[in-house]
């Protein structure tokens, strides 16, 4: 039984199904990556697991409990953290305030967690009093990830964290994500940069048209000639 798993998820926006019996799961301390061509339903699968999309079939199970009916906010309380692809910071608020807002549901002292986030992303500590909207794309992504970490989640879901950042920043972000996974947090992420993402993945899911096409370890998928030819550009 996986730590977090969306089993046979079927659903979409309105009456048209985007996901067709799609299954995605992740273990504690592992990185699971969802890749696939545009319109494969990667982000939709992620949203479904976070409760932003009503499922017509299948279920979402976390820590052995069925959480299919829970709202996103309730899932946050259960230990899920979510980093949306766009608009994932509070632009007019300072970095520090962004992190504070991330910890809004916590009533205890958040200073320690904030310290951990600053250790993970030292640049944020220097820019703590600067509005998040004035930061560069890569730094903003760090704020977004840091914000989601403030609830001390058991599982962190990232929707294309490297969208629109330079290759150097992307490598840097992936390094940080590996560090986060080492602390025992389960990481589930959707990525456009399939090669690089699969290289750090313990488990990879290749989705096509809302259904699982290949599921294997990241390494095995990278070596699979069919996957290489069809999805990784040779």
């Amino acid at each position: 039984m996986s730590f977090l798993i969306g089993e046979n998820m079927t659903g979409g926006y309105g009456s048209v199904d985007i996901l067709h019996s799609c299954t995605v799961g992740v273990e504690r301390g592992e990185i699971a990556v969802v890749v696939g061509p545009n319109g494969a339903g990667k982000s939709t699968a992620m949203k479904a697991m976070f409760g932003m999309l009503a499922l017509r079939g299948g279920r979402v199970i976390m820590k052995g409990e069925d959480i299919t009916a829970l709202k996103p906010q309730e899932r946050v309380l259960r230990g899920m953290g979510f980093v949306p692809q766009t608009q994932n910071v509070f632009p007019s608020m300072t970095v520090e305030e962004n992190l504070e807002m991330g910890a809004f549901i916590r009533r205890d002292d958040v200073a320690e967690t904030m310290g951990q986030v600053f250790d993970l992303f030292p640049i944020l500590k220097d820019k703590r009093h600067q509005p998040a909207g004035e930061l560069s794309g890569g730094q903003r992504q760090q704020v977004a990830v840091g914000r989601a970490l403030m609830t001390r989640p058991d599982v962190l879901m990232l929707d294309e964290p490297t969208a629109g950042v330079s290759p150097i920043v992307m490598d840097e972000l992936f390094d940080r994500i590996i560090e986060i996974a080492r602390t025992g947090i389960a990481i589930l992420m959707v990525e456009q940069n399939a090669k690089q993402a699969l290289a750090i993945a313990d488990k990879g899911y290749v989705l096509v048209q809302g259904a699982n096409r290949y599921t294997d370890t990241g390494e095995a998928l990278l070596e699979n000639p069919d996957v290489r030819r069809a999805f990784l550009g040779g």
Binding site: Q73, V76, M93
Partner: protein
């Protein structure tokens, strides 16, 4: 000496009234801007909310006066103010529950909100006139001046007097205290920050576990309190007349937009920009120029750029200029 006299004239007729009027506009615009940034609509009912608050102050003040309770030198309305704030908050929460909440739940477009707020505006306006009547009420009491023109002349030996009315002093002092309190709340408290977060990025605020209904409620509480205070101060300074608040809506919106809608600092700045532009442009400079220019050049006419009747039109002009040149306002708020 002539220069000092000229400056005193400007101080007496422009600077001091401008500071008081600007404070009133700033408080009003702050309320408009907060509602806009959190509830995302232009609340045209804000003027009538001010009127309602001022009306409560008038009624409570009359009652206190008849009971012989007063503050000595200060206006009795200051004791009435907490009651008026509370009443206006209750009215706003009631209206939100009965009217706005429905449109929030049905996710109505902004235009719908706007028109709904116009409906609310007429309703509150009607209610106020129903309760207190349309006529002019003067409820200012206590000492009339902090500094009288004549004692200023005696003190300084100048030809011109500088008078500071008690209501102007009270307005400025209250506005400073209230603005500091609002900014402290928005920037330092958890609830205030959650309001800013909600205004910044609604979806992310929801993900962070911020309760939208609570944010909306607190926004109404603050907007209502600001409206009641602004309305009461305006009523104290001029007089309370229900119809003036409809006219006041224009400079208040102009102030909010000039400053940058959604920006609280902008609202304050905008309030003073509008107030001083109105006064500087409608001021008759004859006396000032007589002091400054040699006798042969002394002006015959009033030397007024615009007659005071056009005061309201001026807000429009400034509004149009700002929207043309810098649509996000001085402090880069959101565009309407």
């Amino acid at each position: 000496m002539d220069i000092l006299n000229a400056l005193t004239v400007i101080g007496n007729f422009v600077l001091i009234p401008g500071l008081a009027y600007g404070s009133q506009l700033a408080l009003g615009a702050l309320g408009v801007t907060l509602v806009y940034s959190v509830l995302r609509f232009s609340n045209f009912a804000h003027g009538e909310m001010m009127s309602f608050g001022a009306m409560l102050s008038v009624l409570v003040t009359f009652w206190l006066q008849s009971a012989g309770i007063g503050l000595g030198l200060l206006p009795t309305a200051l004791i009435a103010l907490p009651v008026s704030i509370l009443g206006t908050i209750l009215l706003c929460l009631l209206i939100d529950r009965l009217v706005y909440r429905y449109y929030r739940q049905t996710r109505a477009p902004n235009v719908t909100y706007l028109i709904v707020s116009i409906g609310v505006m007429f309703t509150i306006g009607g209610l106020v006139r129903f309760i207190i009547g349309p006529s002019d009420r003067i409820f200012t009491d206590g000492s009339r001046f902090i500094i009288k023109a004549r004692s200023f002349k005696e003190m300084t030996g100048l030809n011109e007097g500088l008078a500071i009315k008690m209501t102007q002093g009270v307005t400025l002092a209250t506005a400073i205290v209230i603005v500091i309190a609002v900014f402290w709340f928005l920037n330092k408290t958890r609830t205030g920050k959650s309001m800013r977060a909600y205004s910044d990025n609604e979806d992310l605020a929801l993900l962070s576990g911020i309760n939208p209904e609570r944010v909306v409620m607190i926004t109404w509480v603050i907007a209502a309190a600001l409206a009641a205070i602004a309305g009461t101060l305006y009523g104290l300074d001029k007089s309370f007349k229900p119809f003036t608040f409809l006219q006041l809506l224009l400079p208040i919106f102009a102030a909010a937009i000039v400053g940058g809608v959604g920006s609280p600092v902008g609202a304050i700045a905008g309030g003073f920009v509008i107030a001083f532009s109105e006064l500087f442009i409608t001021f008759a400079y004859k006396k000032v120029l007589t002091y400054l220019l040699p006798e042969s050049l002394a002006p015959e006419s009033l030397m007024q750029l615009l007659s005071t009747e056009y005061k309201i039109a001026l807000s429009f002009v400034i509004l149009v200029i700002v929207l043309l040149i810098r649509p996000t306002g001085l402090f880069s708020g959101k565009t309407l």
